[in-house]
């Protein structure tokens, strides 16, 4: 299967280093403390944040930091085929965990002891790269809720197909079975907080990652190619961070305007 034509165009007309169109909107759920919709091409996710609020189960309360909880789900209509998406299946649990860990790493939890922060993300439309989109949406929602953050964590995926590193895989490219990485990145601190590797073997776990989850490993990628793919994903994260910052700035300006300042 040819995923990149000899002319250097992908199936959907992008070039290898191009991302899909991204769009973000803050304040999608009125009742939540913070919320956002984030789109990457045809992938569309909504995130809502509640908190910091009182811990629901006393036993989970921590005296020195806030408790972060995350729930990921996919809407039944998100993929088009009318399959019921069971809640709490392996995949959702895993992605919930990944998002929670990533967010926990950037929230200044020690400022909010004995409290709880709930992050709900739901996929409205799935077309590859859902976990990246979820992380980006959650970041925006957290920022909207005014929760103190170390940095805006952003995420992007990159893969390797037809001997070409590809940025931001869509569903067709994602399901091609090639190796792909999902990177979570703190742009200001220039630090990778999440690295998820799929279909990859022989990759060396580097010391600078604070979290690393290795998915199913099948095909192999030499380490130098891996570095290229990973660098590409980081570039993608940086671009998304710029966009998110712009959106937040605009949102703040709007708030200012409404308050009549």
């Amino acid at each position: 299967m040819e995923y990149v034509s000899p002319e250097g165009l992908r199936l959907d007309g992008r070039r290898p280093m191009e991302m899909r169109q991204i769009r973000a909107e803050i304040g999608a759920v009125a009742k939540a403390d913070g919320s956002a919709v984030f789109e990457m091409g045809n992938t569309k996710v909504i995130a809502a944040v509640y908190g910091p609020r009182e811990v629901q189960h006393r036993s989970q309360q921590m005296s020195d930091q806030a408790l972060v909880r995350c729930e990921y789900s996919m809407a039944n209509f998100s993929t088009g085929d009318r399959m019921r998406k069971p809640k709490g299946d392996r995949r959702s649990t895993e992605i919930s965990l990944v998002i929670r860990q990533t967010m926990e790493a950037c929230i200044l939890t020690h400022l909010m002891p004995r409290s709880q922060i709930d992050i709900f993300v739901q996929v409205l439309q799935a077309d590859g790269g859902t976990r990246s989109a979820c992380i980006n949406a959650a970041t925006l929602a957290l920022a909207d809720a005014g929760i103190p953050l170390r940095d805006l964590v952003t995420s992007c995926s990159a893969g390797y197909l037809n001997s070409t590193p590809l940025l931001d895989l869509n569903y067709v490219e994602d399901s091609a079975g090639g190796p792909d990485v999902t990177v979570g990145f703190l742009p200001k601190l220039d630090k990778v907080t999440l690295l998820q590797v799929q279909n990859l073997l022989n990759c060396v776990i580097l010391g600078r990652f604070s979290a690393l989850v290795v998915g199913k490993m099948d095909s192999k990628l030499p380490i130098d190619t891996f570095e290229n793919v990973m660098q590409l994903a980081i570039e993608g994260c940086k671009a998304i961070a710029n966009y998110i910052r712009e959106i937040l700035l605009e949102n703040t300006k709007q708030l200012e305007y409404r308050r009549g300042l």
Binding site: P6, G13, N42, G80, D127, L201
Partner: protein, 953 residues
Amino acid sequence: MLHSKTFVKKTRGGKVNKQVREHYLRDDIYCGAPICKVCDSSTARLSPSASTILIVDTNVVLNQIDLLENPAIDDVVMLSIVLEEVKNKNMGVYNRVRALCSNSLRRFFVFANEHHKDTFVKEMNKESKNDRNDREKAFSNFPVLTSKSIELAIRVAAQWYQTHLGGATHVLLITNDRENKRKAIEEGISAETIESYVKSLDRPELLDLLVQPTSEDVNMVEVEDLRPSKRKIMYTEHKPMSEITSGLHRGIYHQGKLRVNRYNPFEAYVGSESIGDEIIIYGRTNMNRAFDGDIVAVELLPQDQWHEEKSLSIAEEEDEDEDVHLVPSSTDDAPRTTSLVQGSAGDLNFASSHPSGRVIGIIKRNWHSYCGSLEPMPMPAGSGGTAHALFVSKDRRIPKIRIHTRQLENLLDKRIIVAVDSWDRLSRHPSGHYVRTIGEIGDTCNLKQEIGGRDTESEVVLIENDINSRPFSSQVLACLPPLPWSVSSGDLANPIRQDLRNLRVFSVDPPGCKDIDDALHCTSLPNGNFEVGVHIADVTNFVHPGTPIDDEAAERGTSVYLVERRIDMLPKPLTEGCYQGEQRSLAIHWVHIFTDGIVNFADVRIEQEMTPDAEIISKRYTKSVIKSCAALSYIEAQARMDDSRLMDPLTTDLRNMNALAKIMRLRRIERGALTLASAEVKFQIDTETHDPLDIGMYQIREANQMVEEFMLAANVSVAGKILEDFPLCSLLRRHPTPTREMLEPFLRTAAAVGLNLDASSSKALADSLDRAVGDDPYFNKLIRILATRCMTQAVYFCSGDLSPPEYHHYGLAAPLYTHFTSPIRRYADIIVHRLLAASLGICKLPPIFQDRPQLTSVADNLNYRHRNAQMAGRASVELHTLIYFRKRYGIEGPVYLTTRSEKGGGEWFVDEQQQKIRKMDGSLSYTVLQTVKIHMEVVEPQPNRPKLQLMLI
């Protein structure tokens, strides 16, 4: 960069569900014309002075690819939508077009019209629902446009080009579809059919390359109107695909690959999985226009017709005046059922046990281009310029092909290549078109012509076997180390490379062999054991994975040995060293290579410590530098060993090794290794004219066996080593155990001459072969040749694809085997070298080995190339045999009747049980393996297809 977004919706078969794909339309796709002022011209491919830019539609590409490949056609814009359509319809043509587009000498530009914002066309849904092609497309995973939309998209793109380039160049749409052309002209696009365009070029020879429009393209009605009564329907219609599919499901049709009998083109076999047997198809009518290699759907004939069909096929055969060829040469293509015996009344039971059938549809065509010549014919009186001619392929399995030519007088005495275009049911012969001329046909009488002619014939052998004999490209040659190359101090200092120049290493090869790749040494150790080293040239030191030279070698797969020339897998400096010009004697040359020479300095070495009874105690594998002290030929080595006066260290080494080898050989034979034989013929070639001077059998000496034994041992031990470290991605070689049915005909033949062979295991077979000694020294060899014919071929495979019991090599009786010892002439060995290096931790494993499907496809290619190389070698021997016997017209001598003659259907009576043929009146009878006298001459029963005829006297 502007992205705009649209949705392309697509349904998928089985479950119908909606697919939504993003589609980004771009404004940064350039037109590829350097004269364009708007676009970025850095990637432009079209010529700056092009007066006309051609835009071709799908059918033109699919049908006229030979014309497009002609350099006269240039400045072509390939729309990506057309390429996509071509890819869906014919992968072979697609690859050829892609090669054209990437060829820097040709001006073909790919315009990604479906991603350009101005030329993107939304799919029209007005297409009629029962368009079969489109319904098939619906099963595809990716959105594919209907043919109407494609036509529209082509016109839109043409229009865009016209306006985009303004009046600077003429944009011409080439389409053979009448409707499309009409619409294009209406829309103000200049459009022409391919015929009228080629005519306007005023190059008559190009017209021959044109494919004549088939009945599918033009209106069928028209053809029938012309001569309604004269056109006889020759063949039954092929069933539509849907009917075939449902028939296959219900089990009334059977699918399989059609293989035409190499010796009788009117008989074919379809190996069907659904009935687990081979279906025999007699006669062209039943074959129903299928070619050799086509995937066909077959319907079984009623059982009572199974035998009838047989006599029919012979009748037809006589009709067409083609007789049966006698030279058997391959094991691969001969039918497993050995129903070669025809026209006999005695084997009724045998015949009816095999189902026969007829082809009702062709699932996949295997058409490609064929080598051959035109059937001699008088020049047509009317000088209309064009003439129909019949093309006779060199490959007997291919029927005559009708072509249309304007240069008949030029082509009559030439070997030409012809491609098949179509075969409609009204014509006896398929129609095709001329592709190119190879050269003059090798003529019998004219000596001058013969030299050129033989080169042509050799060329034909190469083309027929798909062998690339082109010189190496400059990119490939650029990968060579700087010449003259010598061992640098860096190489010596390299810790992975041991310096073994102090060892007494020597090589033993056939006389005159230049691509020496192995050497040996044998040292007695103080404890009475021997250290035996097998040194193999370290080709991987120069051929690195992923470089052009590596790709080229992987593609070629193996060196090809013809009688008069060798087609190398690697460029000459790597195979022979570069001191060719200095005309040194062979021995010095060899030493030279090893001291400061070229390739073979560095070796991958296997060292085995052996006890005097040839038990291997330990093995070591290292890379090293060696220095050869002698390059011996088999004859020299043998002479040294035999000469009892010689007591020098080298001779002692040779004798020691020979003693070890004998023990190893014995042990191997005890395990059940078969000693098979093939009729290897050796020619002595005149150095000036390259004519064969003498013909003889290849003689095998003890020295040959000695070297062979150590190479086998090296291969076996490397196979074990790499499999241990890479159980899933090692390249090994296996030889499947022949089935009972395959051996059956052989055992029957043996039984006829009173031999009782036991083929229950390879050991039993080997033993009984050893016992099969007749009065004649040649008898045993003949029996072995026959045995070889029954075996399947040994093949390369990727270890992950099969389970360990299947790794077995039957012929060598080894559980594991691979090829390691000839990296200069086989690519498999290069792969194994890399695997071994990786397993020793010398370098890391190239990514290709980590990908099993890719390794499997490499193994498949190697098998294919290997077989073709063998075929080419045999064809070359056959060719030279002809040349040889042509000079000595009509010699007589005793030969051995290995194949039964089947002249004259009714006259002879074939006794299948006793393997005899008897004349009906009982006056004469021949038994298999009986010595007879024959008369041998070169005849040409069919023009331009000379062959050796043997006549019993």
